[in-house]
């Protein structure tokens, strides 16, 4: 059984209000006794230990790096591994999954995007994430969550709809492309986010024609998503995406751009949005792909 939709006015203005829940809504559900297998709260943080320092009672942790990435190949886990992972967290195919995390839900959005690759129907973000929940003095515990594993079907991962590969980006040049990294990464001054470790891209700059809208532009100061009107101003008008049919977003490894993917797909309702997870760590090291440097998007290269 899926949980009811959060009826908040703010969410009603988004294209898909059912993809967000407020802290108050979640509190209400938990107080009413909602839990696995109907509703499971997942925490996904940048810091692998943050969950252990205190988490929403009954919630489980999924780590972007140790759980969702294939340990050998640069890819996501397969259907069997996903079924083992989420089934072991008490998540069934019909479970309402509410994901939240640190840093404006950056990694939470990444986890949600991976759930989407497996076609999990009802997966939502907690608006404002971990920081808002704690700021509102809501319950946090260090008690280990007792999970009753459930059966999750082995579903083949379907990448086409929401995942772009390097060849897709090359074929896409000239259509809306959003680079969600920081300004110095976009212009080519650096290859990693300020304050982040160097993670090996041989060249700096951006994919020609990409506009630069840093991912956190979508977040309000309290870490919640900006309103529909504000987001329209940023992306539809500001980034010139308008009513485009197809959009691709990228960053460095596809995590920050998952956040923007969520905004474009679920809050603004673009039909065909893909996240290029190879992103700059692939593009910036690939042989003979076009690169633009400086603060301007640049031209579509002649073919």
């Amino acid at each position: 059984m899926t949980a009811p939709v959060d009826p908040s006015d703010k969410f009603a203005a988004y294209a898909h209000p059912e993809r967000l829940v407020s802290t108050a809504w979640l509190q209400e559900q938990l107080d009413a006794g909602a839990g696995s297998p109907d509703l499971v709260v997942v925490e996904s943080d940048e810091d692998v230990l943050l969950y252990e320092t205190g988490h929403i009672p009954g919630s489980v942790k999924i780590d972007w790096h140790t759980d969702l990435n294939d340990p050998v190949q640069r890819d996501y886990i397969d259907g069997a591994a996903f079924a083992r992972l989420v089934g072991g967290k008490g998540i069934g195919r019909d479970t309402t999954v509410v994901i939240h995390g640190d840093k404006n839900n950056w990694w939470a959005a990444y986890a949600l995007w991976v759930f989407t690759l497996f076609g999990h129907e009802d997966v939502r973000l907690l608006d404002g994430g971990r920081a808002k929940w704690i700021a509102e003095d809501r319950a946090i515990t260090t008690d280990r969550t007792e999970v009753t594993p459930v059966e999750y079907p082995v579903v083949e991962r379907r990448d086409e709809a929401v995942r772009a590969f390097k060849e897709d980006v090359l074929a896409h040049l000239g259509k809306p492309l959003v680079d969600v990294r920081s300004a110095p990464e976009y212009s080519g001054e650096r290859t990693t986010a300020p304050d982040y470790p160097e993670e090996g891209a041989l060249r700096a700059g951006h994919v020609p024609t990409a506009v630069n809208i840093p991912w956190a532009t979508a977040a309000a100061p309290d870490g919640t998503f900006k309103t529909r009107e504000e987001l329209d101003a940023v992306y539809r008008d500001g980034a010139g995406i308008g009513d485009a049919d197809e959009v691709i977003a990228y960053c460095r490894i596809g995590e920050r751009s998952s956040h923007t993917w969520f905004v474009l797909q679920h809050l603004l309702g673009y039909e065909n949005v893909r996240n290029y997870d190879g992103s700059w760590t692939e593009w910036g090291s690939a042989v003979r792909v076009p690169i633009a440097v400086g603060t301007e998007p640049g031209e579509v290269p002649a073919r």
Partner: protein, 158 residues
């Protein structure tokens, strides 16, 4: 510098490594969390001067370190490492705490002989991920560089 390959790992660091290795993956995370909780506050003399400490760029969270050699009543070549990192960054705090506990009290020569890959030997690659462990490798490198600069300036090492 002489060849350091034959220098055995100092007891403090070997003990921390062995403590991690004898645990299950999940319990290794708990031990890292305990280290995180044990990271001592900065000594009074450094408090309020965080901006003068060195930022560890390899870590994803704001962590600042500094090193003293032969201060606060220590013998002239004894190293102390101090670090500060926010509560919201427990992994980084844990890394700093392991190094602060394992390195403080060693001589400068011993600190400089610690292999650069010590963080990779703690058995945390699976539980924490190699990418994150790189933050601790960077932190160790910065400690060693500070120690080298301090002993070089004072001429206490050889």
């Amino acid at each position: 510098m002489t060849d350091t390959t034959a220098v055995p790992l100092p007891g403090s660091l070997a003990e921390i490594r062995d403590d991690f290795l004898e645990l299950s993956q999940q319990d290794r995370l708990q031990l890292l969390l305990e280290f995180s909780d044990e990271l001592p506050a900065l000594p009074d003399a450094l408090r309020g001067h965080e901006d003068e400490l060195e930022r560890v760029e390899e870590c994803q969270s704001p962590v600042f370190i500094t090193v003293t050699v032969g201060q606060d009543g220590d013998a002239p070549d004894v190293v102390r490492m101090h670090a500060t990192a926010p509560r919201e960054a427990p992994t980084t705090r844990g890394f700093a705490s392991i190094l602060a506990q394992g390195l403080s009290g060693l001589t400068a020569t011993e600190v400089l002989a610690v292999p650069a890959d010590y963080p990779l030997t703690l058995g945390l690659n699976e539980a924490v991920s190699p990418l994150r462990i790189r933050g601790m490798v960077g932190m160790l490198g910065r400690v060693q560089r500070q120690v080298r600069a301090l002993v070089g300036a004072a001429g206490t090492l050889r």
